[in-house]
């Protein structure tokens, strides 16, 4: 964010300034106009950066940020999440979003900062696979609500079953980016612990592929350990019951890897470290840096390992960054990742799509720019899916569904850059394949590189796209052998149909020419069946049986499939 703040200086200087004699403006006059820009002010003017570009998306983003935070909090505390979501239509294009979890709660003094200060949080500085990562999300929703309705956000949180809950009504001071407490109280809450947030905001509710309904459903698909209870503005209730009591593998926090570190980050780390020597700084603040490696880096940078971190200059820091690149350092540990696992991914997909064939792949973890990541892919083919439509792509990052900006997403690039023709599907140029196919791509990483703060599309990093392609190809090959087998069986069935059709005709022609009787005709038919059919062996029955997939939930699948009405289709 430091970089962004620097560029903001010009914002305040836009207005006309008094002129010098020669018509130019004196610097002193300009200086009067120059001032700090509050982070809050900046984001208030650039709502699209945070996913509030239109009323429909604003409503979804608010629900999404609140739900993502709730699940993260529950998982951190090792509590199986149970989350209540209510979106209430208040009329006049205003909605109230209420999200309540059974998480660990938030200690009293943190509540105002977490909900009413932008860029505050624990996640930004940690290298850990989590849903939220920027520390912007929920406070941005609070700010958006405040800007569009003037109302404060209401937070209730309880950390201990024998203490009352803390209740706050909060505003954000957008100029100073700090919380304003409108009301503060304690409250009886029958829940043993948890957090509840209520935000009023301007929005628009629509069903369809980019709806809240779809978002929550997809969340349920990739988070089988979560129970979601959702009431939409039409007062329809959906209960997505957890299907697994097992926690996903705990994602461990790791220290940054030297290969990924940037100069500015390194400098602030040097400033903040409690370590007393450069060598100790390297070994304690980075992963995979042993004293030996640290000495090597120092030698490359021509710096004394025992020098104080605080004494490292910008020039020195640059040498250290270059030194890191020159020394061979082990790849970061990859046990910090928590994939959905291919079985659960496939199970979730079965619930959503009634197909005839499923396959899934979880790749081994790899590293981009020092960040471990892992790609998973699942495919559903045939069955009730449409044959002549482009394949449906479902994208997930750290178990969060991505509903907007599909075209700009690295996932799309990986899918369209894969040759689906060799797996028996149609594909023209660099487009999505055409056929009865659903493709699920999940990336888990300690740091998912999004194209913007609204976290809708994954950036086009070559290492990531390459790994996604490998996963798609691995799953594609399994799909290909199924598609080809099915093609063979169909051909065989067609031939058999042929045989059945013509055997009686052939027997009759021979009978008529020779003037034989019926018994001879029957003898010919019997022998022909022996000759042509029996020698062909058994054919596997590959016909689609809609009732075979017991995981499939028709009601569930319908959610988000409604016709999208008019304007809101993604640009």
């Amino acid at each position: 964010m430091a970089e962004k703040n620097e560029t903001l200086g010009s914002f305040g200087a836009a207005k006309k300034a008094p002129k010098n004699n020669n018509g130019t403006v004196h610097a002193v006059e300009l200086a009067k106009r120059q001032r700090d820009i509050g982070v809050g002010e900046f984001f208030a003017r650039n709502k699209h950066l945070l996913g509030f570009d239109n009323p429909r998306k604003a409503l979804l983003t608010t629900v999404k940020e609140a739900v993502d935070n709730s699940i993260d909090a529950c998982e951190e505390a090792r509590i199986l999440p149970e989350i209540n979501v209510q979106v209430i239509d208040m009329g006049n294009e205003r909605f109230r979003v209420v999200v309540e979890d059974n998480g660990p709660g938030i200690v009293k003094k943190q509540i105002p900062k977490i909900f009413a200060k932008l860029l505050y949080g624990s996640k930004f500085h940690s290298k850990k696979q989590q849903r939220g990562q920027q520390g912007i999300g929920i406070s941005a929703s609070v700010m958006y609500g405040q800007l569009t309705t003037g109302r404060s956000a209401k937070i209730t949180s309880k950390t201990d079953h024998n203490k009352p809950a803390n209740y706050y009504e909060l505003h954000i001071n957008t100029q100073q980016n700090k919380p304003e407490i409108i009301k503060e109280a304690t409250k009886e809450w029958k829940k043993p612990q948890g957090t509840k947030i209520e935000i009023d905001l301007e929005g628009s509710y629509q069903k369809g592929a980019q709806s809240i309904d779809e978002y929550l459903k997809e969340t349920a698909v990739v988070n089988p350990h979560v129970t979601l209870i959702y009431v939409n503005p039409k007062a329809e209730q959906f209960i997505f019951q957890r299907v697994s009591e097992e926690f996903p593998k705990e994602a461990k926090e790791i220290k940054p890897h030297p290969y990924g570190v940037e100069l500015g980050v390194l400098m602030s780390m040097l400033r903040d470290t409690p370590a007393r020597t450069l060598q100790a700084f390297m070994t304690s603040e980075f992963s995979r840096v042993s004293p030996g490696v640290a000495k090597e880096v120092c030698a490359e940078a021509r710096l004394e390992p025992r020098m104080k971190p605080g004494a490292v200059t910008r020039e020195d820091a640059e040498k250290i960054v270059r030194g890191f690149q020159k020394v061979r350092i082990m790849a970061p540990p990859t046990d910090c990742l928590s994939p959905i696992t291919s079985e659960l991914l496939e199970k979730g997909l079965k619930k959503e799509v009634n197909a005839e064939f499923y396959t899934s792949v979880t790749r081994a973890p790899v590293v981009y720019k020092g960040n471990p990541f892992q790609v998973e892919v699942a495919l559903a083919y045939g069955g009730e899916q449409l044959k002549d439509k482009a394949a449906k792509l479902m994208r997930f990052a750290n178990r969060v569904p991505l509903l907007y900006q599909q075209g700009a997403c690295g996932t799309s690039k990986a899918v369209t850059g894969t040759n689906w023709k060799s797996y028996g599907l149609q594909q023209s140029g660099s487009n999505l394949p055409v056929g009865p196919l659903t493709i699920v791509v999940h990336i888990a990483s300690v740091w998912v590189p999004f194209t913007s703060e609204s976290k809708e599309a994954i950036a086009h990093y070559e290492d990531i796209i390459k790994e996604m392609k490998l996963a798609l190809q691995e799953a594609g090959r399994v799909l290909g052998s199924y598609v080809k087998k099915k093609h063979r069986v169909n051909l065989e069935l067609k031939k058999r149909g042929y045989i059945e059709k013509y055997i009686p005709k052939l027997a009759e022609a021979v009978k008529d020419i020779l003037g034989d009787g019926e018994s001879e005709k029957e003898a010919i038919e019997t022998h022909l069946i022996d000759l042509l059919e029996k020698t062909r062996g058994q054919v596997e029955d590959m016909a689609f049986d809609p009732s075979k997939n017991v995981e499939y939930d028709e009601q569930f699948a319908k959610i988000g499939k409604e016709e999208e009405s008019n304007d809101e289709k993604q640009a």
């Binding site: 031939k495 058999r496 042929y498 045989i499 059709k501 013509y502 055997i503 005709k505 052939l506 022609a509 021979v510 008529d512 020419i513 020779l514 034989d516 001879e520 003898a523 010919i524 022998h527 022909l528 022996d530 000759l531 042509l532 062909r536």
Partner: protein, 366 residues
Amino acid sequence: MTKSKRKQDTVKKITGVAKHVKDSILKDYAPALKTPLRSLSNVTFSEKAGYFQLKGGEKERRLNASSIKAFTQTLLMMNESKNVVESDDMMTKREAYYVSKNWGEAKFSEQPESDAVMDDIEAMLRIQREQLGFIPEEDGGAVAGKLTIIDTDPDTGKEIKVDCWKMGSGAYNIPADVEGFSFDTKAKFVLAIETAGMFQRLVKHKYYEKANCVLVSLKGVPSRATRRFIRKLSDEKKLPVFVFTDGDFYGHFNIYRTLKVGSGNAAHINEFFCVPNARFIGVTPQDIIDFKLPSHPLKEVDIKRGKDALKNDPFVKHHKAWQKAIQLQLKLGKRAEQQALATHGLNFVMTDYLPKKLKDQKLWLP
């Protein structure tokens, strides 16, 4: 061969195939039908035989899942043929196609399919389509001259004599099946003519009396019946056959060569349809020069046809004289029609051209 003998022969061949199929099936062995390959590349020409002979390339259709449809259709068609032959009836190719509509699933959806099956049966059994009861739609040639044709009344079986000089200004139309014909004539030769216009001129002026010959109008590429008619007449009465076409490659090869030695596509029946003792009297490329005939430039297709004949036609390859004629014509770059002779007077063809050409063997082409 008498008509009833031919009938028996046809039925015997059809039942023979059906028997082979049945026996194979009952022995649990997939039966196969063999037909000769029909193309110019599968024929040779020998002076001795006098026609294009098959080289022996065969295609075998063994009964299996992919061939069962065509296999069934072939046998169904053979059954129809047997019924038609046994009841002394016949059907055109088009009718055969419609008859197949009663075969349920095995029916043909387009006539070319049924035509192909018919050609296969003909080639497989080595008997003419007409003998199988299938007749072409196309018009046969026409005959005029000092000739009596002895035909049989289809109902009574009695002899009918047709005198081909008693047709007034018209001519006798050759029917589809000429197999049962015999002839009575004192004529000295047969003159086969490409165009109907030239034929009419010669009939109108009773050229056949003057030259004591039988005139046959080929009407373009001669139909099978026309070819068979000329062959039978020539064989039985030991008459030479002279052919008179336009002076272009179409007349020389598509018409004359097909009449004399047959074609690649119908090589399996050339034996019966060729007229080996036919000779070409005109219009030759040399005639264009000798008679100063008005001409047209060769078109691109003509040139291609000529070069193709030089390269691929076994008949041309056998005859130096024809190679020279083609080369001369290509060099002239011209073609001339029969009617071009009219430039020297309407009856010049009868008074000068034909007598001169018929008299001098050196002016013919083999």
